[in-house]
């Protein structure tokens, strides 16, 4: 075997190893992106999903002592109950979009390991509702805590 063949053979072995690494990486870590109706149609327990939808108003329940967060994600057609252990992240609220990553539990809910709420670079003008909420919060904070 001459030098050139050796080099090419060596290179091919490494490239093949890298290709296998990529293949193994994909098969091990692929996450399916589903909507609530797609997940509702055929949930596979134990499989990793990324579930995207809107947090249905009135369903958000947060129990701080137990760090237990529950809410329902909806895409307008179907809903999926979601549970998460931990504080709701910033930018996460009812009637806003959220993407959760986790698995479908046999007990009929989605166990989320991470919750992602979308960051946005540019900010929308405040809705009247949120503005009122902000004012109300200010009032409670100033009044309730007796700030000078």
């Amino acid at each position: 075997m001459n030098r050139k063949t050796k080099f090419i053979a060596g290179g091919l072995v490494i490239v093949a190893a890298l290709a296998y690494l990529v293949y193994a990486g994909v098969t091990q870590s692929v996450v399916y992106f589903v909507t609530p109706s797609e997940l509702g149609a055929a949930p596979v327990p134990g499989k990793s999903y990324r579930l995207g939808g809107m947090v249905q108003p009135g369903t958000l329940k947060w129990e701080p002592k137990a760090l237990d967060l529950r809410f329902t994600l909806s895409d307008g057609k179907a809903t999926v109950p979601v549970r998460h252990r931990g504080t709701p992240p910033d930018l996460f609220a009812e009637a806003r979009g959220a993407v959760v990553e986790g698995t479908w539990s046999r007990d009929g809910y989605f166990q989320a390991t991470t919750i992602m709420a979308k960051h946005s670079e540019e900010y929308k003008a405040p809705h009247d509702g949120s503005q009122a909420g902000y004012q109300e919060l200010l009032k409670t904070l100033r009044g309730g805590e007796g700030k000078p």
Binding site: R3, K4, K6, F7, G10, G11, I14, V15, L18, L21, V22, A24, G25, V26, Q28, S29, V30, V31, Y32, F33, V34, R50, W62, P64, K65, L67, R85, G86, T87, P88, D90, L91, F92, A93, R96, E101, M116, A117, K118, H119, S120, E121, E122, Y123, K124, A125, P126, H127, S130, Q131, G133, Y134, L137, L138, T140, L141, R142, G144, E145, K147
Partner: protein, 659 residues
């Protein structure tokens, strides 16, 4: 008035850039010095006009001129003074101005520096750079005009994204864009060399130094981005394999490959075609990154503004890639290698392997990033691969790269003899093994971490060995140790600059390994006055108080922390409420340390202050990343220094005749 004036300045700059590009090219074809001088004046004009654009926009920000849509979208009357200046690059349109301005600045430096020294390549380089500037000015004119008028004029603006109100956001984009635009210079020189047909070695020397500069700024941008992510976003991490991060990481990888393979070309006249390919790839990847993040085709947590700008970048990217690779094909016969590989055990092969792994890493990052697109196009299924994929694939590649970092600089060129290998590597390999064994003895169980520690020890030993030998050799000529060391670093600044950069990378690698393996966290709801314990720290929730800032209110929690020795510190993480935001934003508080950082995020709280939910993280060795960044800065500065003139009369020891 400001919007119209700004727009006029932009259009004037566009016209000048297009004219200048054409004039420079025509002057090269016809050899007309008058046209060349005219194109240089055009380059100066473009820079002046863009500077005026920037100043005008800063002025609009400082005077709250909400007739400019961009100002109204990114600031309000409460925005603090300094953030009103940095709001300039807080969003897309302003970033493009910054990009264009830096490009015009680099163009001026090229004019000043190479007008006389590179008479043949220089006019074409200028033509290419002004052509590229034209594209960014076109973007500023049509899809992303920063001076768009807003009418009616609102009484107040929307305000800057609260996450960007941070010192990291002042420096991160500047460093990143200095890196991105810096790669334009090597690209322009490469194109000029192809057009003129002088594919010899002079342009590659110019290119190398420029690539180091761009590479350095890009590295800095990546690190500051990590720091920003770490202390602002409140998840305790610095790197998430998000498409935006990947977009900046890919050109870094290919540029790193180029910085190494260029040495083979300088030394052995090989890999000309490959080096040109790497330059083109690096430059194209900077454009691709912008396309990826700005077009909205890939979902990212960063979610930038979307618009028609994606299609502009895609078309331009296609033009650049097709154009530059056609030129490569056209000049293929001049790019034949003049040397050839002699042995598998040689520095050439070490560098080839280094290139293979770096490009493979860039490819896997690319693959993982566009995987959702591929999968949807091919199989119609929406899937993604997240951090686990990138970690699984890249950890082995980076470990291999660290290994090569030790081998490359010391192994002989052409063919390494058994004697060379024994002399240079016996001690370092022993150090590596002992290092790993010591870590094992101190209770490190994770195999990957052990491997990483062993490899880092090995590489550090090769660097120490080389430096010691060279300094000893200089000392024989009569210098003291300090003089010898200094003299060595300055005399062979490229080689030792490279070593210092390697040391910086090693420290960063330790930081990554340590923080991944040993960090720990918990989350708890604490009643006022109660405590929670984690890893030797006792954290007590003392108080919750509101406070008002110029543009937001915040609720500040006070937590006193004691460790085993007694009271340690008081941390005050907060939640900030911005009127323009519907949900609050966490303001992390932390105490950085050499070994571990204590990091507190206020999650939720009762309005009466009776209890608060807090996330407590002990992030180990994260500071090593920032320390590594400082070392890297020193090394890059050393490597960029002009090389001292060689004195051929003085014979140098065998192992030092390199780099």
């Amino acid at each position: 008035m400001t919007p119209e004036l700004g727009y006029a300045l932009t259009v004037a700059a566009l016209v000048l850039a297009v004219y200048g590009s054409g004039a420079a090219a025509w002057s090269a074809v016809k050899g007309r010095a008058d046209l060349r001088a005219s194109s240089e004046r055009a380059a100066i004009g473009v820079w002046l006009l863009l500077t005026a654009c920037m100043l005008l926009l800063v002025y609009a920000f400082l005077t709250f001129d909400f007739s400019v849509r961009y100002v109204a979208s990114n600031t309000n009357r409460g925005t603090p003074f300094y953030y009103r200046i940095t709001a300039l690059w807080g969003a897309l349109e302003g970033s493009i101005i910054l990009w264009g301005w830096m490009l015009s600045l680099y163009t001026l430096i090229v004019v000043a520096r190479y007008r006389r020294t590179q008479p043949q390549l220089y006019p074409w380089t200028l033509a290419v750079m002004l052509g590229l500037s034209s594209f960014f000015l076109l973007v500023m004119t049509i899809p992303a005009p920063p001076f768009e008028r807003l009418s009616p004029i609102p009484p107040d603006g929307r305000g800057l994204n609260p996450l960007l109100e941070d010192s990291g956001m002042i420096t991160h984009p500047v460093a990143l864009y200095l890196g991105f635009t810096g790669f334009t210079v090597p690209f322009a020189f490469a194109m000029a060399a192809l057009i003129v047909g002088r594919t010899g070695d002079e342009w590659i020397t110019i290119t190398r130094r420029w690539t180091i500069i761009a590479w350095y700024f890009l590295s800095l941008g990546l690190l500051i981005g990590g720091w920003w992510s770490y202390h602002v976003l409140g998840w305790g991490g610095y790197w998430a394999w998000d498409p935006v991060e990947n977009a900046a990481f890919m050109p870094w990888l290919t540029a790193t490959a180029f910085l190494h393979s260029v040495m083979i070309q300088e030394r052995r006249r090989m890999l000309k075609l490959w080096n040109l390919t790497l330059i083109i790839l690096t430059f194209s990847l900077t454009l691709f990154g912008t396309f990826l993040t700005r077009s909205g085709i890939i979902g990212s947590v960063h979610a930038f503004t979307q618009g028609s700008i994606g299609i502009f970048f895609l078309a331009f990217l296609a033009l650049v890639v097709l154009g530059s690779f056609s030129m490569l094909a056209w000049r293929l016969d001049r790019l034949r290698a003049q040397g050839e590989l002699d042995s598998i055990v040689s520095r050439e092969s070490a560098f080839l392997l280094n290139n293979l792994f770096l490009v493979a890493a860039a490819f896997t990052v690319f693959f993982g990033t566009v995987f959702p697109l591929l999968s949807e196009a091919v199989k119609g299924v929406k899937v993604s691969v997240g951090a686990p994929f990138f970690n699984l694939v890249n950890i082995p590649i980076f470990l291999a790269l660290i290994f090569l970092m030790g081998v490359g600089p010391l192994i002989a060129w052409r063919r390494a003899s058994a004697e060379n290998l024994r002399r240079n590597f016996l001690m370092p390999v022993a150090v590596g093994i002992v290092g790993a064994a010591l870590c094992r003895a101190f209770g490190v169980g994770n195999l990957l971490v052990l491997l990483c520690m062993g490899l880092v020890a090995f590489v550090a030993a090769t660097i120490a060995l080389d430096f010691w030998r060279a300094a000893r050799a200089r000392r024989r000529t009569g210098d003291g140790w300090l003089d010898a060391t200094w003299g060595l670093a300055l005399r062979q600044n490229r080689r030792y600059g490279g070593f210092v950069v390697h040391l910086g990378i090693l420290v960063i690698a330790l930081g990554v390994a340590g923080s991944q393996a040993w960090s720990t966290q918990t989350e708890a709801t604490i009643n006022r006055g109660a405590t929670v314990e984690l890893a030797g720290y006792t954290i007590r929730f003392d108080d919750l108080q509101p406070a008002e800032e110029s543009n937001h209110v915040k609720v500040v929690g006070t937590f006193s922390v004691s460790d085993r020795r007694g009271p340690y510190t008081v941390l005050t993480p907060a939640k900030k409420f911005y009127p323009q935001e519907q949900t609050p934003i966490a303001a992390v508080d932390y105490r950085l340390g050499f070994v571990e950082d204590l990091y507190l995020v206020l999650g939720d709280f009762a309005r009466d202050g009776s209890h608060a939910t807090v996330k407590i993280q002990i992030n180990r060795m994260v500071s090593w990343l920032w320390i590594g960044g400082l070392i890297l800065t020193l090394g890059a500065a050393l490597a960029i220094l002009p090389e001292p003139r060689r004195t051929p009369a003085r014979p140098r020891p065998e192992h030092a005749t390199v780099a």
